[in-house]
């Protein structure tokens, strides 16, 4: 294998030459991220250039096989790439549910045709995916879903309603859980389908969040025709795939605590605390805030170390398993504590909604604080993660 130091140097050099300057600043909010897709409007040419260059090397999906457009890197090399990206404070060239959720399960369960069809487009950000899991009557009890797909010979006919479908209004395709056998036990009659959101019979209506943004929708399906080749895995065997995808989703959400959310406009929490709560010759003047800031930084460190340990143990074939639930639980609860603390630090300056009197950073913090409340709900609530740990890891009885 290539010498790791040479690899690091090559990566650093390439990034230095290819990452445009405007892509080396933190994003203002989640919405500013590049999610790609057929309808993506680029705010500036550098955003597009950055994506295209990274995609050409397969580095939007560094560990995926080269034959499907990925980077073909080992996990260790991918960590080097991530390190180097962090060093120059590069924005992610592409954020997508295709990368974090669908891709990994297609690699595991998809057939060759599906992999060749969908994976390269995910790598290049051509198709934006959304997740059709939750329904009004099936949230935590996901397997209780009712959306039906009837076998019509060469296609399935899909009818039903989904809810909380993040970015359904911007998405090109959906990965969707449907009931293909209404008479089977509830986990045994579910299938995993892919289809184009432009198919006749699909309609969406956005829902507004307490943070003021509308990141998700109600999604309706009326007699939507889905070609049979779009079934992933076997008919009625979708629950296994659904659970696997949830594991990937939970890892992603759990990791957000120190990824996306870079509020504070680049200032650290301790700097903000000195600025807003008083600086007593270099110390945070308020001893309670000081102690809470410490607690939070310690939590972050301990959590990051645990994520690292889990990767290293997995490689060595050790570890407790069901780690994704633990990370989802701890990462999101920690992220919520982080925003509660930021609001406490910023005081009334964190409670503005719009207009004058508040800096953009302050207004962003308010919205992010409210958005973070969804972290411990989306992808399975904290209570559901606790149930999973109790059952799967600790083996406690029902």
């Amino acid at each position: 294998m290539e010498n790791p130091d040479t690899f690091r140097a090559d990566v650093a050099k390439w990034l230095e030459e290819n990452c445009p300057p405007s892509m080396r600043k933190p994003m203002g909010s989640e919405e500013e991220a590049n999610w790609g897709g057929r309808r993506k409007q680029y705010a500036n040419p550098e955003e597009k250039l950055w994506l295209d260059r990274m995609a050409a090397r397969g580095w939007t999906c560094p560990t995926w096989p080269k034959e499907y457009g990925g980077g073909g890197l080992t996990a260790a090399q991918a960590r080097v790439l991530a390190d180097e990206l962090r060093k120059i404070r590069a924005r992610p060239p592409l954020i997508s549910f295709g990368i974090t959720m669908l891709g990994p399960v297609l690699l595991e369960y998809g057939n060759e045709e599906q992999k060749r069809e969908h994976l390269p487009k995910i790598v290049r950000g051509e198709i934006r995916w959304c997740q059709g899991y939750s329904e009004p009557g099936a949230g935590s009890d996901l397997a209780g879903l009712q959306t039906r797909a009837e076998d019509k010979g060469d296609h399935y006919l899909v009818n039903g309603q989904k809810i909380w479908t993040s970015y359904a209004n911007y998405a090109d395709w959906i990965f969707c859980l449907v009931r293909t056998d209404p008479n089977a036990a509830k986990h045994d009659g579910i299938s995993f389908l892919l289809f184009d959101m432009e198919s006749p019979g699909v309609s969406v209506s956005p829902i507004k969040l307490i943070s003021g943004s509308s990141p998700f929708c109600q999604t309706f399906f009326q007699d939507v025709k889905v070609p049979k080749k779009n079934l992933v895995g076997v008919k009625n065997g979708g629950w296994t795939i659904a659970k696997k995808l949830l594991q990937h989703e939970r890892e992603m959400i759990g990791g957000m605590g120190f990824g996306l959310a870079a509020s504070g406009g680049g200032a650290t929490m301790e700097q903000l605390a000195k600025e807003y709560c008083g600086d007593d010759s270099g110390r945070i003047a308020d001893p309670v805030i000081r102690s809470e800031v410490v607690q939070h930084l310690m939590d972050q460190r301990v959590f990051a170390t645990t994520v690292r340990r889990s990767v290293e143990e997995a490689k060595a074939g050790q570890g407790p398993g069901a780690a994704s639930s633990m990370f989802k639980l701890y990462g999101t609860e920690m992220n919520k504590r982080r925003y509660e603390l930021l609001v406490k630090i910023l005081g009334s300056q964190a409670l503005g909604w719009e207009g004058s009197g508040f800096s953009p950073r302050e207004l962003a913090t308010t919205r992010e604080w409210l958005r973070s409340k969804g972290n411990s709900i989306e992808g399975g609530t904290s209570e559901v993660q606790l149930n999973i740990i109790a059952k799967r890891v600790l083996g406690l009885p029902d």
Partner: protein
């Protein structure tokens, strides 16, 4: 260094687990306690551990040590924590021998470390004077005399101080209590004139001592490191000992947690296992998460010592704060979830609570280490 255990480390863990389970199960602690054993640990066990190479596990070969790392020492300590094994590893190796290793002169190292590795010498560190850990809060005076120094003062919570052959006493040659400057470390033999040692019986069945020093005279050669700059030795010694103690606490906490989960599976009320009640399940899952997070930081802190990383002091504080909080949570929850039996002396779970609480207050509790973290981080 990876946080996953290597094959050799797994082997060591298995050996340690088997050996300690056989020679020092929890009932051995109970025996020592109930018989008012004057030593408080088994000297025979300690010799056997020395034969296995554990008494000097991190000492260099030239002093008869096994020359392994803290990652390995941590494994042994964790297993000791699981059965609440009473051993002088903490006092002798982590505190006493470390001071000599880091700053002792050739003679001190040569004479004492080899005896430590053989399990022959017991060492202790006499630092604390009040009810809380505050390493520079030292009032004990060291006055220069003709050939050396004269020590006067009082020490408390000196672990294994009642049986130590030599105790490292922290005293002040200048300055006021609370100041970092002006400290010095002296080796004081157990039969020194003017030294009065009183054993205190602690809640965890282990033991600590109070020392009264009434003009104890020591030679100039008894000083470890530079007189007046003792904190330069003390700080790294305390960091290493703190991290070692965290490894032991991790074992205690993990064992108490696992025993509790088993109890939840077997104890029946309302016709079902109490572990089927969500009110208990969720709390068990929270404890699991805390134990896992604690394990990660302990492993990283141990490796940081071996890798000579500059963040050892910071990690010592992160680990101790975390382990203190986890020990508090798990100790209390374990007893609560055992119901009435949990508060009896007959059931072992209460012994874990007691040991966890003593460890929590040894070398600084969570509040102390949070304040230290802030100071080290410059805010």
């Amino acid at each position: 260094m990876s946080l996953a255990l290597s094959e050799e480390q797994e082997l060591l863990r298995n050996t340690a687990r088997e050996f300690i389970a056989e020679h020092s199960p929890v009932k051995e602690l109970r025996r020592l306690r109930d018989s008012n054993d004057p030593v408080g640990f088994s000297r025979e066990l300690w010799s056997q551990m020395a034969e296995l190479g554990w008494a000097g596990i991190v000492l260099p070969e030239e002093h008869g040590g096994a020359d392994l790392g803290y990652a390995e020492l941590g494994i042994v300590l964790e297993e000791c924590g699981r059965t609440l094994a009473a051993t002088p590893l903490f006092s002798t190796l982590l505190l006493g021998a470390n001071a000599l290793l880091l700053a002792g002169d050739g003679t001190q190292r040569k004479e004492i470390l080899a005896r430590v590795a053989k399990g022959e010498a017991i060492l202790a560190l006499a630092l604390q004077e009040g009810a809380h850990h505050a390493p520079y809060q030292v009032a004990t005076r060291a006055e220069a005399s003709r050939d050396g120094y004269k020590l006067t003062g009082k020490k408390t919570f000196v672990q294994d101080g009642h049986v130590a052959d030599q105790t490292v006493v922290v005293a002040r040659v200048s300055g006021k209590p609370g100041e970092r400057d002006g400290l010095a470390l002296f080796l004081v033999p157990k039969n020194a004139r003017g030294l009065q040692v009183t054993r205190t019986v602690m809640v965890d069945g282990r033991n600590a001592a109070q020392l009264q020093l009434d003009g104890v005279e020591v030679d100039r050669s008894a000083a470890i490191g530079t007189v007046g700059r003792g904190a330069d030795v003390l700080d790294p010694v305390l960091d290493r000992a703190t991290i070692g103690l965290c490894a032991e606490t991790l074992g205690t906490v993990a064992e108490a947690f696992e025993r509790t989960v088993s109890y939840l599976k077997t104890r029946k009320q309302f016709g079902v296992a109490i572990g089927s009640f969500q009110a208990l399940k969720h709390r068990a899952a929270v404890m699991f998460t805390e134990v896992e997070l604690s394990r990660s930081i302990v492993l990283d802190a141990l490796r940081a010592i071996d890798e000579k990383r500059p963040d050892v002091p910071l990690l010592a504080s992160v680990a101790k704060a975390r382990l203190s909080d986890t020990a508090f949570l798990v100790g209390n929850e374990a007893v609560q979830m055992h119901g009435g039996i949990g508060v009896t002396d007959e059931e072992e779970i209460g012994l874990f609570l007691k040991r966890a609480r003593v460890a929590e207050l040894t070398l600084g509790d969570a509040a102390y280490h949070r304040a230290r973290f802030a100071a080290l981080s410059g805010f």
